[in-house]
């Protein structure tokens, strides 16, 4: 039924736990995975402390280094499990939009993600990006608690 799982990560511990589950799920059903990390666009006016002090070049370089670091975990997990994979990062101010667009473009048939990410359980009920993905996605979403 599912052949291609999109696994978005923001590098948070909750998100990485979900990655492990998703890879295990992919292995058990013989599906391939696409790992995705979304980088926010550079802004001069921002609430991201690190973005205020950075130049555009430095911010982009740091973001890419983070993306590679987060995605390499997916890469390693997928390789260890013998799951076919690819990894990618995109730049978008709205992670949920990038997640849904990437799922469509790469032909994924399910999105597997954690209920909460970087902001933790401060969004008491559901993480905000997960909630938005659930609202706007046209394909099934597997939510790890």
């Amino acid at each position: 039924m599912f052949k291609h799982i999109l696994v978005p990560t923001d590098g948070s511990p909750l998100s990485e736990a979900a990655v492990d589950h998703a890879i295990e799920f992919a292995r058990s059903i013989g599906a391939k995975v696409t790992g995705l990390h979304v980088i926010p666009s550079f802004r001069t006016f921002t609430y991201h402390a690190e973005m205020l002090e950075d130049t555009r070049e430095k911010f982009e370089k740091d973001s890419k280094a983070h993306a590679v670091q987060f995605l390499s975990k997916i890469e390693r997990a997928a390789r260890d499990a013998g799951v076919e994979y690819r990894i990618m990062f995109v730049t978008n101010d709205h992670p949920y939009q990038a997640i849904i667009d990437t799922a469509r473009e790469t032909g994924c048939d399910v999105i597997a993600m954690a209920s909460h990410g970087r902001k933790g359980v401060q969004g008491m009920l559901m993480g905000s990006e997960t909630q938005k993905v659930l609202t706007h996605s046209e394909i099934p979403v597997l939510v790890y608690r």
């Binding site: 039924m1 599912f2 399910v110 209920s115 009920l125 609202t135 996605s137 099934p140 939510v143």
Partner: protein, 155 residues
């Protein structure tokens, strides 16, 4: 990976469409299916001044709800039998549908809840169906939300 999948159904076309997809996933995972239908418990007519003579007794109400529930569960059972998936169905009387579903998942040691994005109240709600939303915010096991694009034809 998933050994036992809980598939709640409220008998609506949207829910049945999602349930069929859930059975298909169970086949792919080689998992068993536990399907559950939750109905509201009998309401005693305590807050009405005149009890109409047609007001059903508790037995009549439960028998009628069981009849409906069994029909809804049979829709899922048929699909499971067609795909060769091990099936069991339960009917529960409980006011809080989301709580009953999560309880059923725990009772039956299910490791995944497979639920449609919308059910009986239809696609009118912009975000997610209310029961699905409550399950997502309170349960401890993974939940797969199956998006139903449009109301299936009622044939």
């Amino acid at each position: 990976m998933y050994r036992k999948i809980l598939i709640p159904t409220d008998g609506s076309p949207l829910s049945t469409a999602a349930a069929h997809a859930g059975v298909d996933l169970a086949r792919q995972c080689n998992a068993d299916v536990v399907s559950v239908h939750v109905a509201p418990p009998y309401q005693y007519p305590v807050n009405v001044e005149i009890i109409v003579p047609e007001y059903p007794s508790e037995e009549e109400y439960q028998a009628a709800m069981r009849r409906h529930g069994t029909a809804y569960l049979d829709e899922v059972r048929k699909e499971a039998e067609a795909l060769g998936v091990q099936f069991s169905g339960t009917m529960l009387f409980e006011d809080n549908t989301a709580k009953a579903i999560i309880h059923a998942a725990t009772e039956n040691a299910c490791d995944l809840i497979f639920i449609g994005s919308h059910g009986r109240s239809g696609l009118g709600q912009l975000l997610l169906g209310s029961v699905t939303n409550k399950i997502l915010s309170t349960c401890k096991i993974p939940v797969l939300v199956y998006r139903v694009q449009q109301e299936p034809d009622k044939t």
